[in-house]
Symmetry: C2
Subunit: 444 residues, 2 copies
């Protein structure tokens, strides 16, 4: 096979799943129709890279529009320009002298960048015929560091320090790869704990997850104190004292409210409270983390943390005890590597956010590289898992016995089935047309 | 005239001015074509409210698309629902359970919210037949506070505290109004200090501004140390020792770099360094502010600060000495009021960002209300002024003798001339068609 040399086209498709019909993913803040802006990059040899950014429904078309705006900086670009200086290309994309006003590096435009960068990683993996985790693990420190844009983080992490970390972490990489290929990476389940579910459903799902081998569970909280107590008692009873339990407030509280709300719940022996308040509030997270530390509850956040600058500060201020990178909120693999390296420096475990559309597929690659080449450990680390929508991917993530299995196909596991794309493209897809005609949905 | 009761339509237009052709607005980071997403709200009586959000060119269409997505939450809404509980309506708009994923409250979607909220204020002023500053000044504390969404800031400012501040600040309001109507509000000029200008042009513009009555000047820095020294020496020489000089790096530096770069420049007696680093870096700003304090240079930031949560932290961490709210980056008047109140509590002067398209027109209303009803002083406060593009507004801002004059027309001064809209609508406007056909611009 000839190696492709240039990006010849970029197509974006608005893909949405009507998950709100069944209250999948419901929490104190969100009522989602899991969606994604799906990018297809074409090359001169016909090899394609596919990437996506996750959203929860309305507004997905805005992200698609933003991806269109970046097209001029991607199509016609030589792959040697991109992969030969990927950090520089990433910087160019995020720092366009007019587009950057719309962020910089946050919100819609950063989500759009993530979809494109993810597609470029899928393409790179396919060119090298390796899954992305293996592609990363086969690079030396001097190859990894130029992937990263160190702007605005050099006060905490310099390229030289990053090289040092990566060099030190190479010892034993082959043994860790063997262990990962054999037994995968631990997962936790959020499937049982959505707010919209009945108690019977929660019980059933807890038992089912235990039977499947899960030992770590997460429950949504924050709408009603009484309801939180009742559901936590229920889940703790179902899973027993040996299992790990986390809770997630999805930004429901103000700072002091978070502390007050959480104190009575600490009796359920909770590993972390996730997103207690605004994702932007570094100092607020630090205040909450300090107040809850005596109760043994850590603070976790990240799925809505806009960029490496925010994570830098959360680490500096001791505002988080568990760092939950999101494969689409940050600007793709390149920026995520920066966050993994900073978290390692501050000795904070990364436990990626997943679920949604395709997040599980991606984060196993990232977390595997953290294990192989950065933190070198799975201690105190776990990846979120939600068993939804995997059937739409060509190489869906494999989870068995409560553990993610190592992806083996080349690329970033982000390619979706054409049949699914046709069915769920919004609003023209056959499933949406059916829902509209049956009056179950109204076109936004 | 009958009072309108309902919003019947929302139209958004993509308006762009080809300012990059003359290097207006050039700095260390941006090369702008000053633009705006322009919103027209129509009502059942024919009365219209006009509002805008500022961008610098490419990507303006993404903001327009986002405004379209909010239409469903605005059109058909009764004005009593909006103005009767404006803080609640604002919260609903920014916290839509699906759209909020795209922010929350930042980037493209927040810029879109700003345009809509600004148009609603223009409409409100027109309904009450008052300029917005006067509308605000005529409200009691118990009417102002419900305009504000206190979510995520109650650890620093509660509604009760806000009422207290506003009550206390009413003393002497009539005298201050008289003084404002008589002599306006002090301005500073950025017109002389753009990076793209020649030395002769800078000299000429400094003299011209001094002749016009300006005593405060701002210069862009950050591309080259030698060039910064040369231009600062030049400007300080032209304006003399009695005038105030500020510098602006437009986010060019990392934290330690900012400190190193600035130290030699402090000999030019600078009031502030503006945007020394990433607008997201609260702790970085605090580090820079602490390092430069002994040299008498303050830190200013705000034009790219995404929301009230960021300002809250900048104030908490002593990361800014001058608070530069932006009338379009924050979610319109409602959120800006929260920032003014917090700044007052921390005793930090607000010096609004202006220039661009329509920013000068808006900020004089806001700063006037700060003077009349919040801080009650003009001490250490000044509004940016750039003499560009005012001719496109129906009620352009008036600046004389280096001072903003009080706006007298009803509304928020945000209505643009239909002739300008037709000429500069992108890409169909007559001026753009001319530039395309003459080969001076290529359609993005």
């Amino acid at each position: 096979m000839t190696t492709p040399s240039i990006i010849t086209a970029l197509t974006v498709r608005d893909i949405r799943f009507p998950t709100s019909l069944e209250a999948h993913g419901s929490d104190a803040i969100n009522d989602p129709d899991y969606s994604c802006a799906y990018v297809i990059l074409e090359t001169d040899t016909g090899l394609r890279g596919c990437g996506l950014t996750f959203t929860i429904g309305r507004g997905n078309e805005i992200v698609c529009k933003a991806i269109d705006a970046y097209k001029r900086m991607v199509v016609g670009t030589h792959l040697s320009t991109i992969y030969g200086g990927f950090g520089t290309f990433w910087h160019k994309l995020t720092q366009d002298p007019q587009m950057r006003w719309l962020g910089p590096e946050k919100g819609v435009t950063h989500l759009a960048v993530a979809a494109i960068i993810n597609a470029l990683w899928d393409l790179w993996g396919k060119i090298e015929n390796k899954p992305v985790w293996k592609l990363l693990a086969s690079m030396g420190p001097e190859e990894i560091v130029p992937l990263i844009d160190f702007q605005y983080i050099s006060d905490v992490l310099t390229p030289e320090e990053a090289v040092e970390i990566l060099k030190k972490s190479r010892a034993g990489i082959l043994e860790r790869e063997k262990s990962f290929l054999n037994s995968g990476y631990p997962a936790y389940t959020t499937s049982a704990g959505w707010l919209g579910y009945s108690e019977d459903k929660i019980k059933r799902l807890c038992r089912q997850a235990k039977d499947e081998g899960f030992t770590r569970f997460k429950v949504k909280v924050g709408l009603s104190k009484e309801d939180d107590e009742r559901r936590l008692a229920l889940v703790r009873h179902e899973i027993g004292d040996q299992c790990t339990l986390m809770v997630d407030a999805n930004q429901r509280w103000d700072v002091q409210e978070a502390i007050k709300w959480m104190k009575p719940l600490t009796k359920y022996n909770l590993l972390w409270i996730e997103e207690p308040t605004s994702p932007d509030d570094v100092l607020g997270h630090a205040t909450i983390a300090k107040a809850l530390a005596p109760y043994g509850v850590g603070v976790a956040t990240g799925e809505s943390c806009q960029n490496r600058v925010l994570f830098k500060q959360l680490l500096q201020a001791q505002g988080l005890n568990f760092c939950q990178i999101d494969s689409c909120r940050l600007g793709g693999v390149n920026e995520i590597l920066a966050v993994y390296l900073m978290a390692h420096k501050f000795d904070v475990p990364v436990c990626p956010h997943a679920g949604g559309v395709g997040l599980c597929e991606m984060v196993i690659h990232l977390q595997a590289f953290d294990y192989l080449g950065i933190s070198t450990t799975q201690h105190n680390r776990v990846i979120e898992y939600v068993d939804h929508l995997h059937e739409h991917f060509v190489n869906p993530v494999q989870v068995a016995g409560g553990r993610y299995m190592a992806p083996t196909a080349a690329g970033y596991s982000t390619e979706m089935k054409e049949s699914s794309l046709r069915k769920y493209e919004y609003p023209s897809g056959s499933e949406w047309q059916r829902l509209f005609s049956e009056g179950k949905f109204t076109l936004n």
